[in-house]
Symmetry: C2
Subunit: 374 residues, 2 copies
């Protein structure tokens, strides 16, 4: 049975659970908002299914309940922050505040973040910078998910990265992607839903192809676009892990590991649009690019062309009446409610799910990676 929960109530429930674990109210609200926003955008892989993981980490002490960020280096335009193994989302949110402030002062800023944790969707944070008139690039390293090109043992993360930019009247443009053929979270979601994964996404622990998401979790996720995904992930580990003084390579622990310190590092680069361009001129130019792209002639298999981030904005609108939760996710929330004494959010049985609302951009339309558009 699919459960629909109103976003506001789900946010309040999530924050309540986190507060009951000793997370300060503003931090609990923030983490709850990141999870619910992921659901609204149609990325359930980064949504509520992670709440029990985060709670387990808080209980074990792998993640500090109270996040205390310290400044390690500060040149004005460049900062290094130490997250003290607190909540990744809280640490990264502070980094964005600094990054935007420093970019407004210097034109550009770099914030390195060490000893952080998994921060959920990178787009949550780059969008915040874009809403304040900045272009932001945020990258992170992550727990080992794939082998280097030519290897058979996982030692390199999916290492997601996001770029967001203001888009004038069109809102915000944002891309957010993992350098793997698929985000690990989608494999977890398939495992949780008990559905097979498409061929080509992953190999099992022996390196053989598999469509079993549980075997894939024990095995290898493949890099996107062959070795290109490998070199991208490698370089983002240099930026997010090596450079910032955080864990790197196979030292980073995943959010699904309840007892190990994460060690994830991030790098945020922020440019103040107003330092590089007249904001009105920039807005007119970016709007022209968006409009020309949307209005381009369509392939026979497509009815419309979307710009980066548009699908998520549209999904958020569609899902604003209620969020569709997988049965296993709902069961975990029932358990958390009982443990924390926080009342469950209201639900109702869902209408048949609309495909549109559940599809991230990389799955929105044919053709597959190997088919040429006709």
């Amino acid at each position: 049975m699919v459960q629909l929960s109103p976003p506001g109530a789900l946010r309040a429930f999530t924050s309540g659970v986190l507060r009951s674990e000793g997370v300060p109210a503003p931090d609990a609200d923030l983490l709850a908002d990141t999870l619910v926003m992921a659901e609204l955008w149609g990325h359930a892989s980064h949504g509520m299914l992670r709440l029990p993981w985060y709670v387990a980490r808080l209980r074990s002490g792998a993640t500090q309940r109270v996040t205390r960020v310290t400044t390690v280096r500060d040149t004005g335009a460049l900062l290094v922050l130490d997250g003290g193994h607190g909540i990744g989302q809280v640490i990264t949110d502070q980094a964005v505040t600094h990054g935007v402030e420093r970019a407004k002062a210097h034109g550009v800023s770099a914030v390195g973040i060490r000893n952080s944790g998994h921060f959920g969707t990178a787009a949550y944070f780059t969008r915040r910078a874009a809403e304040q008139g900045c272009i932001a690039l945020l990258c992170t390293n992550a727990s080992p998910a794939m082998a280097p090109w030519g290897g058979k043992q996982k030692s390199i993360g999916t290492n997601p990265w996001s770029i967001a930019a203001p888009a004038g009247k069109r809102g915000v443009l944002v891309m957010d992607l993992a350098n793997t053929a698929v985000a690990r979270g989608k494999v977890y979601l398939a495992a949780e839903r008990g559905t097979p994964i498409p061929p080509g996404w992953a190999a099992d622990a022996e390196g053989s192809p598999t469509t079993d998401p549980r075997a894939a979790i024990e095995g290898l996720i493949r890099p996107m676009a062959g070795p290109k995904g490998y070199v991208m992930s490698f370089m983002f580990d240099v930026l997010a892990g090596v450079l910032t003084g955080s864990a790197f390579g196979d030292e980073v622990a995943g959010p699904y590991q309840p007892t190990e310190t994460s060690g994830a590092g991030h790098l945020l680069l922020t440019i103040d649009v107003a330092a590089m361009a007249d904001p009105a001129e920039y807005a007119a130019r970016v709007e022209a690019l968006v409009d020309a792209t949307r209005d381009a002639p369509k392939a026979p298999w497509a009815t419309e062309i979307l710009v980066p981030g548009e699908l998520e904005d549209r999904n958020a609108e569609l899902n604003s009446h209620g969020i569709d939760l997988a049965p296993a996710t709902w069961t975990s929330l029932v358990t958390l409610a009982a443990e924390s004494n926080v009342p469950l959010p209201p639900t109702k049985e869902a209408a048949p799910p609309t495909e549109q609302a559940a599809l991230p951009i990389e799955e929105v339309a044919p053709p597959s990676t190997e088919d040429v558009p006709a």
Copy 2:
């Protein structure tokens, strides 16, 4: 017949041809070096085959013979340069000089470049920054090569980008890739060599799959990794074209177009490693990542694991005795020699080409994008 030419002589010839076209000696030397380095790295697609294109553009006035770069904005850490439609490589080389200098002063810098031209391989420039202790990200827009996801008409470039980082005793780490299933230059090289292209690289002008490189040049290159390549290219156009005040979308002209102003824009982000980390600690950490990656257990199909940029370094060593030129490329150099009165570089007939030396990293090994490593 394959021609082998010593790199030094090829460089001198190329510079001589460019000087005869009115390009100042230092600029001619630089452009010649970028073309010969691309050959040495094994990327003939960005090598000598482009010399006649550049000469045609200089003769038509589409590219200014004498490059004059002006500063449009300057906040200290952030600059906007106008290349005045000069030589892209000369403009970008100056941008790197500024970018490194400003990063050393502020920790991080951003240089936006407008009214530039195609700059060849992005890695040539990011490597220069890395050799000076900086991490650099350089992106560019380019002439339309692919359709937006869901479209059937090309309006978005391959928009290549590169990240390079110092790697201590291991030299420099560098990635450089186009957001297409394949670099356009590889299609041009196949057309020049008269060989078919693999299925999946491109579609013809009607949107149908093709293995004919000439049909592909008139048609569509596909994005890498499906819609991911589209969103990446789109965002890099926002950064390199829209933000910098250069041409964007379908306004950018390609280097193979002899009479049209390029309008290409670039964005360079540079971080001084020493501002973010102790350089000795950083070096030890990056060396550890490189060593652990190289020493990882190998897949059955691989004999070794390379780190980003290593193949190009190795190719440069292998090719240092002589560069293998395609017959059509050699013919174009014979013509340029006659026109410019610059003596041709010496050649000899090549030994059978070593596969290793000609393979860029994305082609170095099985499995294909759709095969899962065994």
